[in-house]
């Protein structure tokens, strides 16, 4: 059984699976209580991501912009950024300001850290941290912006004055690009273990808040700046996504002597076990009965559904970390992750995925630098039973008449998906339920993979089988 690694060879991207860096930094900054983002660029660079986030989270998303126009583009955006910092400070009194750059401000070469220093020199009363994050869209993708933001936090916020052996007894957890529901599930797991997490960062409430009267000045929830300062005194750092937060975890280890554990995103049984075991390893706590029950329930779901899922071929697309975690669960369900496509140009990830899929005994084609048009073409060549990824894959699902299980970002054509979790034992169980129900909905009677029939691998004789279009087929 061998998997293969391919790279899409086309200059033009058609229906990309990824978006751009500033949205990642904005999302992460929403996890800090009272923090405000200033997007240094054209107004569209703030408005478009806000609109995208509002469609996914269905919450107000507020971001300031320096509103660069022709004149400021020619003469530099310094005056605009200084004015923006002043206006945001005076109007909102945030606990922190994050300035993210854009293609525009990076290309004209604005020295954002220098401008921030100048602002702070002029305004001694401003004592809040003001971080700058490099997020030009032409480097990397939306995950890059998130990751860069986490690195800036790790470099700038934690308190370096730590006495030997001093600890806050907490564990830094960097969940990466997940949904509010995922963060809440992870919090639940730590709570069950009697542990205290320090979340870098936590948008589980700020981007999934309730209705409160009066409306709070800043959304409720989020990690406070004070906690982030304290994060250098934690017992360990666990990054749950290698590409979003892995580097930051290593910064904690090097700078503050906080041991780093960089794990695979805890989707599925084995990946969640690894997370729980790491917690045990760090703290010597035992695994509580309640988590054992959740794990048993996941196992039960895998047993109960295996006759419906085994052998089905799945196409997955999205961010590297989510795919890596997801492949674990897909394999545990007996399904074959036939196509695994990411937009990232990350060869080492691809090679690791080849090893992983071979270890999981599934045969996959891993596609780097890919887009949805490419995925569609490959699905046409080698059909699949199921598609997994964000909302933009719906056009393939419709054209090929296969179900799309929505995971990742953005999910803009379904309600409440940001509240669900796919991590932990509970998240995996919910995902098993959803995948199986999607299969039930398509073919209430047939439990044999259509693709197996159509590719002639396991053609049964004599009995009529209901095909995907519902017509009876007599081989």
């Amino acid at each position: 059984m061998t998997s293969c690694l391919t790279m899409q060879d086309r200059a033009v991207a058609i229906n990309p699976t990824r978006s751009c860096a500033p949205i990642g930094a904005m999302l992460a900054n929403y996890g800090i209580h009272g923090a405000i983002t200033i997007n240094h660029g054209s107004q569209g660079c703030a408005t478009y991501p806000r609109h995208q986030m509002a469609r996914h989270f269905r919450e107000p998303v507020e971001v300031a912009t320096t509103s660069l126009t022709e004149k400021t583009t020619v003469y530099g955006g310094k005056q605009n950024l200084l004015a923006a910092l002043k206006n945001i400070w005076e109007r909102f009194h945030p606990t922190m300001i994050m300035v993210c750059s854009t293609c525009l401000s990076e290309t004209i070469g604005d020295d954002i850290p220098g401008i921030i220093d100048e602002f702070l020199d002029k305004r001694p009363e401003v004592t809040i941290p003001i971080l700058s994050v490099k997020t030009p869209s032409y480097i990397g993708n939306h995950t890059t912006g998130f990751d860069n933001f986490l690195k800036e936090i790790a470099l700038n916020l934690p308190d370096r004055r730590k006495k030997k052996g001093e600890t806050n007894g907490k564990i830094n957890i960097i969940p990466g690009w997940v949904n509010p529901g995922d963060i809440r599930e992870l919090k639940h797991m730590l709570r069950e273990m009697g542990l205290h997490g320090l979340w870098i960062t936590d948008y589980s409430e700020t981007l999934d808040g309730g209705y409160y009267h009066p409306r709070p000045h800043f959304p409720r929830g989020g990690t406070t700046v004070e906690e982030l300062r304290n994060s250098s005194k934690s017992l360990a750092t666990i990054a749950l996504q290698r590409h979003i937060g892995g580097e930051a975890a290593h910064i904690y280890e090097r700078r503050y002597n906080v041991p780093a554990h960089v794990l695979t995103m805890p989707i599925g049984l084995r990946n969640t076990d690894a997370f729980v075991n790491t917690l045990v390893e760090i703290t010597d706590h035992t695994i509580p009965e309640s988590l054992g029950v959740e794990r048993a329930r996941l196992l039960d779901a895998l047993v109960d559904t295996h006759m419906y899922t085994t052998g089905l071929r799945v196409a997955l697309y999205g961010d590297p970390d989510m795919l890596e975690g997801l492949v674990g669960l897909i394999a545990e369900m007996g399904m074959i992750p036939a196509h695994i496509l990411t937009a990232a140009d990350n060869r080492s990830w691809g090679e690791r995925m080849v090893e992983l899929t071979e270890e999981l005994e599934v045969e996959s084609e891993i596609i780097l630098k890919g887009d949805l048009h490419e995925l569609h073409k490959r699905i046409k060549q080698r059909p699949v039973d199921l598609l997994m990824g964000h909302s933009k894959g719906k056009f393939i699902a419709e054209a090929e008449n296969i179900p799309l299980v929505r995971v990742g970002f953005p999910v803009e054509d379904r309600f409440g998906y940001h509240r669900r979790s796919i991590v932990g034992y509970n998240g995996a169980t919910a995902l098993v339920d959803e995948i199986t129900n999607m299969i039930f909905e398509r073919r209430a009677t047939a439990i044999v993979s259509n693709t197996l029939l159509e590719t002639g691998l396991e053609r049964p004789t004599d009995i009529p089988i209901t095909l995907r279009n519902g017509a009876a087929h007599h081989p």
Binding site: C20, S42, Q43, G44, T102, P136, Y211
Partner: protein
């Protein structure tokens, strides 16, 4: 007169005005009259504005159904502009696919012209049925000086189809309004009049400035056709590249959105002598006026009265029913531009009054029209930012807020009923029939039981109590 939230941003005062007694206006700074508009946003202001690329790709060029929509720039601009505006057509190629030259750092350093050329050729090869390639420039590719026009020319020679290059980089202008202008000009210069078809076009029209949001055209096109008129091009919504090429043959341009598309009507008037009329295709009286004006041009008045009478008879019972439920409600409208003044009259037909009017990118002519229609005591505000919107919703407590998707959740968090006028909750809202949909959606927004639950449990007093404070509380 000043907003509390504007104490740190005094320059906002000239963007705000109240309509006083005898139609006199009181501007925020107490001096001028008409409010400042179409000027750059204050940096750090939490504006709702978009960029020139958004106006061009999202509004004007994007709805052309058989063109390859190719963004020349980084991935984000293309991803975010893909399929968020429901400008439907009878085929969905333009909604399903987005193309981008996907500039990376190396391209930014060494230039992206080669990659653009290759992208156009590849995209065209993948989709041979597409009728043209629309290329939109972005901030980064404009800054590094890629000569997109030249690449478009080269590409055109290779693929044998029009390659239309839009110079719509995001930093141009002060809002998406500049993008509409660029879109109009570019399509006019490069496509309109490139084919001279034979035939009788004496009773033909173009519908200018309707973007077929959630199939708006289904509510009014059959009415113009019932007059005996032939529609050549819809600029732009359910329109093909071939339609745009021959739109100069029309006998009359019917201009609906008079901010984003008047440009092309004016250019056609100048070059081809095509006359145009300005209309509003929302609301009963407006739609009737539009049909009458079009009919008058062609001498079809009697037919128009028949069509109008038939339609109005059909919908009036519904409107009357809704009017009883909506009567007396006060509305805050915040739209891109003309929809604000298009809808003041329409809301009055439903018995509602516009109490606050705001636009993202309105110009002086839009604000004049707004000012003439709003009642005494109404507030007008240009390019309002998030804190201003919040303060208006809290202090004036409108019964209904009509705005776009980004503002929706703020309204909900403040317990204010909301209707999405930008991309429509359900729609379509245009024409006579759409008016019933609009009324139904407003009714749903206002009378959902959830508001009673909120008011009982989470708010000390119902909305009517707050209304008494009105504008007086805003400091002067």
């Amino acid at each position: 007169m000043q907003f509390k939230c504007n104490q740190t941003l005094p320059e906002r005062a000239i963007h705000i005005a109240l309509k006083g007694p005898d139609g006199k206006c009181q501007r925020g700074d107490g001096t001028g009259c008409f409010i400042a508009n179409n000027v750059a946003t204050t940096p750090g202001d939490m504006t709702e504005r978009g960029c020139t690329y958004a106006g061009c790709r999202g509004v004007v060029g994007g709805p052309v159904k058989d063109a390859i929509q190719l963004t020349h720039g980084p991935i984000g601009c293309a991803f975010f502009s893909w399929g968020y505006r429901p400008h439907l057509a009878d085929s969905d190629f333009h909604m399903k696919y987005t193309f981008v030259s996907d500039m990376n750092e190396t391209n930014i350093v060494f230039g992206g012209e080669k990659k653009l050329l290759q992208s156009i050729i590849e995209a065209s090869a993948e989709f041979p049925d597409a009728k043209a390639v629309f290329v939109y420039n972005t901030c980064s590719t404009a800054l590094i000086g890629d000569d997109g026009r030249d690449v478009a020319k080269q590409a055109e020679a290779i693929i044998g189809k029009p390659v239309v290059f839009f110079e719509c980089e995001g930093f141009r202008g002060v809002s998406q309004s500049m993008g509409h202008h660029v879109g109009n000009e570019t399509i006019f210069r490069q496509l309109v009049g490139s084919i001279e078809p034979e035939g009788d076009f004496s009773r033909s029209i173009n519908i200018i400035g309707d973007y077929n949001i959630k199939n708006d055209i289904r509510t009014f096109e059959y009415l113009f056709e019932a007059l005996g008129l032939q529609i050549i091009a819809r600029f732009t919504g359910n329109v093909s590249v071939d339609d745009l090429k021959i739109m100069h043959k029309a006998a009359l341009n019917i201009v609906h959105c008079q901010r984003s598309a008047t440009y092309i009507a004016d250019m056609m008037k100048e070059k081809y002598g095509t006359p145009s009329i300005n209309v509003t295709l929302w609301g009963i009286r407006n739609m009737a006026q539009a049909l009458r004006a079009a009919a008058a041009f062609f001498g079809l008045e009697t037919r128009a009265e028949e069509v109008i009478a038939h339609e109005v008879t059909r919908i009036q019972p519904y409107i009357d029913a809704y009017r009883q439920r909506l009567h007396g409600k006060r509305v805050f409208i915040y739209q891109g531009g003309p929809r604000v003044w298009h809808w003041i009259e329409l809301l009055r037909e439903l018995g509602m009054e516009t109490e606050t009017a705001a636009t993202t990118f309105g110009h002086t002519d839009d604000y004049e029209k707004i000012f003439n229609q709003i009642p005494e005591g109404a507030l007008v505000i240009d390019n309002p930012n998030v804190p201003e919107i919040e303060e208006i919703l809290n202090r004036r407590r409108p019964d209904l807020f009509i705005s776009g998707n980004k503002e929706r959740y703020l309204a909900y968090k403040l317990g204010v009923p909301f209707v999405n006028g930008h991309t429509y909750d359900t729609g379509p809202y245009a024409g006579f029939v759409g008016m019933v949909n609009f009324a139904r959606d407003i009714d749903k927004a206002l009378h959902a039981p959830v508001w009673n639950i909120l008011h009982q449990r989470a708010r000390p007093a119902p909305a009517t109590h707050h209304a008494a404070h009105g504008f007086e509380e805003v400091e002067s």
